[in-house]
Each structure stands twice: as structure tokens, then as C-alpha cells.
């Protein structure tokens, strides 16, 4: 498996393939390139295990996280990124807003 996850979270593997991204700009780009349906599917799959994932990840040092945990954390960071699209904007990007591409993110 190219994107290994901790044993208790392997059901997230199809999402981790796409969303285990280690920079904010990569997570934002991916969000903006998705359909709302795709974001919603990811959201619904991961939200129920988010709290459990945080409790698992909190046992690890942020600086020395094994790859499976790092992938789970990056996937959770992506969930946070896309959550505002699902919960608030009902669209991948804010609609009544300046174009997101004009706004640069430094990682």
C-alpha cells in the first residue's frame, strides 16, 4: 500500500491516497479541484472517526511521527480543510468572495 495508515484506520485508505498531503497549499489546491460530492463523501467517511484518530495521534511526538500516523494526521488536516466547504459554503470554494487563486499561501 502506497499510503500506509495505522491498523485501526485502514478503512480510510481510499481517502488517504488522495488526501495525505503535507502542505496547506496542496490541501487547498486539492479541495478546490474536487466536486462538492467528492468532498462530502470524504467528510462523511472521516468525521465519525476523527475524535478517535486524534486520541491515537496524540500519543505520538509531532516531530517523530511514524509514516502511518503522519499519513493519518495529514488526512485529518485535509478533513479540516474541506470541512468549511461542506459545513459552511456548500461549495468547494467560498462563492461570495475574492477568487481563491488570487490569494497566495506560503507553506
Amino acid at each position: 500500500m502506497s499510503t500506509p495508515l495505522p491498523a485501526a484506520f485502514t478503512q480510510l485508505a481510499p481517502y488517504a491516497e488522495k488526501w495525505a498531503l503535507d502542505t496547506e497549499s496542496a490541501r487547498r489546491e486539492t479541495r478546490m479541484g474536487c466536486s462538492q460530492e467528492e468532498l462530502t463523501t470524504f467528510y462523511q467517511a472521516m468525521k465519525p472517526v476523527l475524535d478517535e484518530a486524534i486520541q491515537h495521534l496524540n500519543k505520538f511526538d509531532l516531530e517523530k511521527m511514524p509514516d502511518p500516523e503522519r499519513n493519518l494526521l495529514n488526512t485529518a488536516l485535509s478533513l479540516v480543510e474541506i470541512s468549511v466547504a461542506v459545513e459552511l459554503f456548500h461549495n468547494p470554494w467560498p462563492l461570495n468572495a475574492w477568487p481563491w487563486e488570487a490569494f497566495s499561501v506560503s507553506d
Partner: protein
């Protein structure tokens, strides 16, 4: 006006200046001539925030900062003696830039034109072709040109004058005192965003120093947060004026429900929408239903603070209708994954909410330039906009 009774009133500090209630002329937001006066009378006479000391942790670390309104590129560098200094990024030989990268660690700066080399302290250490320069030239006098610099709580400010009329501490006055207890030095930068909208710098600033707009502009990102039946106009809860600066406390609807994921990660660390405990250097008025403080340091720097986080804006005028904006978000260092996820929610929500703030800027600028409107109207909800214009005019008159 004011036909119906006000349900909520902003508590104004007793030092609020008498600013009248007349409409504000549009001309200062569109006029090239007015902008040139601002360049001379404000930006060349005010302390300007350019960076934080954490950006230069080690001797030899440097960054360059473009300050378009001063037509300057400035090198900020930490010397071997640990002092942070500012220099104009210009070779004293024939004017080329000496630092070509935006940041780095160096033993000095060597001009790429003829190889003149300057030390971290600005001294000219190697003057290529020295023996061929005749005339009254002393190597000691042609080091890098220093710029006045001072720091406050790790914020680096520069001043275009060799001898500013006020020290940085005196300039910040009560605004500095209010913020002094906040642990800025314990926080680390978690995000930097930037953009250059086609808008006058004051139009841009004004969009960030009232909460009235939140009802409409942030109806999607922050629904029901800044207003309710208790405060239908999203009035600020309190406001303080310190000379040219101001501090505005935003009101939060205590019934506001943050989005689900924000609530879930907010349990594990401070986040923009979920943390309301007491904290040093915030909520100076001890207001109920307090959200966060918008602190505006004249002319173009914001340092907004909340419990366990702060964010800054620099609004850099490029011309009368172009502004380069930079936002930095800072938080206490995340100790674990949960805290990191809470930080991420703060970043993403603020970032997308600011995109909404930007939605009005270019349209406003374009229409102000049409000349159709001679004046804009500022309500008591927008007292900060009136104050910014009041201070701008004061500074222009002082040097007229």
C-alpha cells in the same frame, strides 16, 4: 437619523476624540495627489512594522522587505553581535541591489555588479578597484545606508527619518501598554497569506475595522456570530483610542454554534471560534460576550488578539488604487496532533473568511473612482473608519 431605539451601544473609552458625524469625502480614497501627500506626510513620518525577530533567529540571518510606498527595499539582518539592523538594499558604489535573495544566512553582502562587499554591520569591507577611486572618498563613510529600526515585543519597526520625532515606545503609547501582557514571544507563525487587490489602502483597512459587515459578508463563514437580537447591528462591544491608534473589541453572540469539525478539534487546542477564556493582554474592558480585539497601529498594521492566538495584517500601499496585503497567523506552539488540528481550523476558517472580506474591495474602489458619489456615510458602528480618516487628515495638516 437614528429613528429607532438602539438596543446595543458600544462602550467608548473616555479618550475618544471629537470627530463629528459628517459624511466622509471620497476623494482621499481615489486621488493620486492625495496619495502622494500620504506618502510624504504619513509613511515617511510613521513607524512601520516590517517583520518579527523570530524571522532572524541566528547571526547572519537576513530578509529583504519591499516597502513600495517608500520606494524602498530594506535588508533586515542579525549581526554577529546579535543586533538586528536595517539597511537600504543598495550598493553605495553605483546603486545596484546588494541582496538579491528574499532571505538567507550570509557572512555579508557582495554586490553582483563590481564585487563591493559589505559586512553584516554594513561596513564596506572590500572595495574593488579602491586604488582607482580618486577624490574625497572615505571607505568608512560608504557602508550600507542604515535605516532607523526599533523593536517592540519582537515586532520590528522601521522609520524613514534618521531622527524620528518620537521613539517607538512613545509612538505606540497606550496601544503598546494595552498589548504588553500578551505573550507574542511564545507564539509561532502558523500561516502567511498575501494578495494585491486593486484598492486604496484605506478602503482595504476599513473593511477590517468594523463588525457591521459580518452580518452580510460573513453570513456563510461565520453565520450568527457577530449579531443577534441582543446586538442586531453587530456593534463593537467597546472601543479605545490611543492617539493615532485604536483598539476595538468585537462582540460575540454567545448562542453562536461553531461548525462541527471546529468544535471537535477545538477541544484539543485554542481555535478562532471556540476559545473564550481569559488571557493576558486581551479584552481590556472585561466585556461580556467578548470575541477578540482588533488593534490598529497607525498607519497600516493590525495586531488582532484572542486567547492563545493572534494575527497581523500589513496593508502596504503600492499606489492610490493598489494595496499589497499580508496576513500572518500566530499561535502557541502545538504540543500534539490535536492542537495542530485546532490550529488548522483557525487558519482555514480565517483564510476563507478573509476571502469574503476581499469580495467588496475592488468593486468599492472601482465605483468610488466613477465619481458618482462625493461622500460616503459612516455610522457609529463604523467609528474606526471615521477615526482613520480623522488621523490621516491630522497628519496631512501637520506637515502642510
Amino acid at each position: 437619523m437614528g429613528k429607532t431605539e438602539r438596543i446595543f451601544e458600544t462602550k467608548l473609552h473616555s479618550d475618544t476624540p471629537e470627530m463629528g458625524d459628517s459624511p466622509l469625502p471620497v476623494e482621499p480614497y481615489v486621488s493620486k495627489e492625495f496619495f502622494e501627500k500620504e506618502r510624504e506626510s504619513i509613511f515617511k513620518r510613521a513607524w512601520l512594522e516590517v517583520a518579527r525577530v523570530e524571522e532572524l533567529p541566528n547571526p547572519g540571518d537576513y530578509i529583504t522587505v519591499d516597502v513600495e510606498v517608500l520606494k524602498a527595499s530594506i535588508i533586515l539582518v542579525r549581526g554577529q553581535d546579535n543586533e538586528v539592523r536595517a539597511f537600504h538594499n543598495i550598493c553605495t558604489h553605483r546603486g545596484n541591489k546588494v541582496a538579491r535573495e528574499n532571505q538567507g544566512n550570509a557572512r555579508g553582502f557582495t554586490c553582483g555588479f563590481h564585487g563591493w562587499a559589505f559586512g553584516l554591520d554594513g561596513n564596506l569591507e572590500f572595495m574593488a578597484g579602491e586604488e582607482y577611486f580618486t577624490g574625497d572618498i572615505n571607505k568608512c563613510d560608504i557602508g550600507l545606508i542604515p535605516m532607523t529600526l526599533d523593536t517592540w515585543k519582537g515586532f520590528i519597526f522601521v522609520h524613514a527619518m534618521d531622527e524620528p520625532p518620537q521613539s517607538l515606545g512613545d509612538y505606540l503609547g497606550g496601544m503598546g501598554t494595552q498589548l504588553d501582557p500578551f505573550p507574542h514571544e511564545e507564539c509561532e507563525r502558523i500561516a502567511r497569506y498575501s494578495g494585491t487587490p486593486r484598492v486604496n489602502w484605506k478602503v482595504a483597512i476599513d473593511a477590517f475595522q468594523e463588525a457591521f459587515h459580518a452580518i452580510t459578508v460573513h453570513r456563510e463563514s461565520l453565520p450568527g456570530s457577530a449579531a443577534s437580537a441582543l446586538n442586531p447591528g453587530a456593534a463593537l462591544t467597546s472601543a479605545r483610542f490611543y492617539g493615532p491608534h485604536r483598539s476595538l473589541s468585537a462582540w460575540l453572540n454567545m448562542e453562536y454554534m461553531p461548525p462541527d469539525i471546529g468544535l471537535m478539534v477545538g477541544k484539543y487546542g485554542p481555535a478562532f471560534v471556540t476559545s473564550h477564556e481569559d488571557y493576558p493582554g486581551v479584552n481590556p474592558n472585561r466585556d461580556d460576550s467578548w470575541w477578540f480585539d482588533i488593534n490598529v497601529i497607525f498607519p497600516n498594521f493590525f495586531c488582532d488578539v484572542g486567547p492563545g492566538w493572534y494575527f497581523t495584517y500589513n496593508f502596504w500601499p503600492v499606489s492610490e488604487n493598489e494595496t499589497r496585503w499580508v496576513m500572518d497567523i500566530y499561535q502557541l506552539k502545538a504540543k500534539d496532533a490535536g492542537a495542530l488540528l485546532a490550529q488548522e481550523h483557525t487558519k482555514v476558517l480565517l483564510r476563507d473568511a478573509v476571502l469574503e472580506d476581499f469580495s467588496t474591495l475592488e468593486d468599492t474602489q472601482q465605483m468610488m473612482e466613477s465619481g458618482a458619489l462625493k461622500n460616503i456615510l459612516a455610522s457609529d458602528l463604523e467609528i474606526a473608519i471615521r477615526h482613520q480618516m480623522y488621523v490621516v487628515n491630522q497628519w496631512l495638516e501637520q506637515t502642510a
